[in-house]
């Protein structure tokens, strides 16, 4: 569970940094989803339970830092993690560039899911808050952040194969 704690601590620090940067840069439409990059890394490098717990923690923090803790981002983080594991079983991700592309795909999925779930769960929420207009830029920024974070994320532990086989931990 060290990796979970590290992921949560890193997510907390990055979210704090991002919140300050957004204050100065004024990225109102497009944000940098650093948490998705962490979730994507967990999907690639950690076990099912460990990754799910880490994603839950990261999503929880995102919910908390978003100012609207409704559980949406916690749910989406775990879901993105699981989808990421499926994706990772289909493609081979190597190097910072590969990880950046993987994180971009995860962020696109995460963003679309956020829009969809928001639309499904609440008719009173304005879609403007989760407008897809900023999604392409958001995905690009997240990919860039993932590329930069890759060396740091690798220090979470030795690059190794996932400890258990299968997409969701069930033996083949």
């Amino acid at each position: 569970m060290t990796r979970v704690a590290l992921a949560a601590a890193l997510a907390l620090a990055l979210l704090a940094v991002e919140s300050v940067l957004v204050k100065y840069l004024g990225l109102t439409l497009a944000r940098i989803d650093v948490t998705v990059a962490i979730v994507a890394f967990l999907a690639l490098r950690s076990g099912l339970l460990e990754g799910a717990c880490g994603s839950f923690a990261v999503g929880y923090l995102l919910d908390l830092m978003s100012g609207r803790p409704t559980g949406l981002y916690t749910f989406l983080a775990v879901l993105t993690f699981l989808l990421g594991r499926i994706g990772a079983s289909l493609v081979e991700v190597r190097g910072a560039a590969g990880f950046a592309l993987f994180a971009m795909a995860a962020d696109a999925v995460h963003g679309l899911l956020a829009l969809g779930v928001t639309w499904l769960t609440s008719k009173t929420w304005g879609m403007g808050a989760l407008s897809p207009a900023g999604l392409p830029l958001e995905v690009l920024l997240t990919g860039t952040a993932a590329f930069c974070l890759y060396p740091l994320l690798q220090k979470f532990g030795p690059v190794a194969e996932r400890p258990e086989p299968g997409l969701i931990g069930l033996p083949r």
Binding site: K23, A52, F56, L64, M65, T70, G71, F75
Partner: protein, 293 residues
């Protein structure tokens, strides 16, 4: 059942992790829950980092702004220094022009002497020959300047035109050893002659009878008897008056009223009307010194 749960513990836990926030989301909808203890701890943990970052960014931005501001001030300072220098030069030039204007005005207001036109000229050079005290002016025959014309300033007599070319003329200064002119002591009206000594700060007073009254500082003016200079022009003031026991004349020197080392603009006058048809009684010595020595 328990065995099944134990066997699929991880997927079930993941399912719980997935379902819990979803149920919370579905249950609360858009309502924002109040922060619990964990929320408060986590938010409290990020606050110092955020404050540090904001302070760092603000500090860096402030330093950068101050740097940029200093650079701008430095540029402005440099520009203003240049402007100040240019303005100082301009003011200096204007002061010079004002002084020149004043001198020319005084020259133009010179008392009516002579009969012909006056020519204002600028001194453009000094004779390189140390034995001949002449200056060059920028007016010549084309401007009506002729040989032997008297040259004056508002302070007094400068000399006479020695040589004329189309666009310039040489003026033999009073202090040249070859200069002679007729003078009169202004106070007593006694007539005498004055001659240059070669020293630009001294003239010699000649032919003043020993019986005449002369005191230190007496003003000496042109007498008009030499046919060159109109009468009444200031020549200098008496100094070093010596009354010897014998002889017809007393010895004295004159301090020229004109500072020959600071000549800038001069006025070329026409000779006195009487000189036109009369031979000068005190012919200018310059006529005797033509040609190179």
């Amino acid at each position: 059942m328990l065995a099944l749960l134990k066997r699929h513990r991880e997927p079930l836990l993941v399912l719980v992790l997935l379902a819990y926030p979803l149920l919370q989301l579905l249950g609360t909808g858009a309502r924002v829950r109040e922060p619990n203890l964990i929320d408060r701890i986590l938010l409290g943990a990020t606050a110092p980092l955020q404050r540090l970052l904001v302070a760092g960014i603000d500090g860096a931005a402030g330093a950068w702004e101050r740097y940029v501001s200093l650079r701008r001030v430095e540029r402005e300072n440099r520009a203003l220094r240049g402007e100040v220098q240019a303005l100082r030069a301009e003011v200096g030039g204007m002061a010079e022009a004002r002084q020149e204007n004043e001198r020319l005005r005084r020259l133009l207001n010179y008392p009516d002497v002579g009969t012909g036109p006056r020519v204002v000229a600028r001194v453009v050079g000094i004779s390189p020959d140390a034995n001949r005290l002449t200056v060059r002016i920028d007016r010549g025959e084309a401007d009506g300047v002729r040989r032997n014309m008297p040259v004056v300033t508002t302070d007094g007599v400068v000399g006479q035109v020695l040589r004329v070319t189309g666009s310039g003329a040489d003026v033999l200064l009073l202090v040249d050893p070859n200069s002679r002119l007729g003078v009169r002591v202004q106070r007593t009206r006694a007539r005498a002659g004055a001659a240059g000594t070669g020293d630009d700060r001294l003239l010699r007073l000649d032919y003043l009878l020993r019986a005449e009254d002369l005191e230190e500082g007496d003003a000496v003016v042109t007498s008009g008897t030499d046919g060159i200079y109109p009468p009444g022009l200031m020549v200098g003031r008496a100094t070093r008056v010596q009354r010897q026991g014998s002889g017809m004349f007393l010895g004295a020197m004159l301090l020229p009223s004109v500072d020959f080392s600071r000549l800038e603009e001069v006025l070329v006058l026409s000779p006195p009307a009487s000189s036109g048809g009369m031979a000068p009684r005190a012919a200018p010595v310059s006529t005797r010194v033509e040609g190179p020595r």
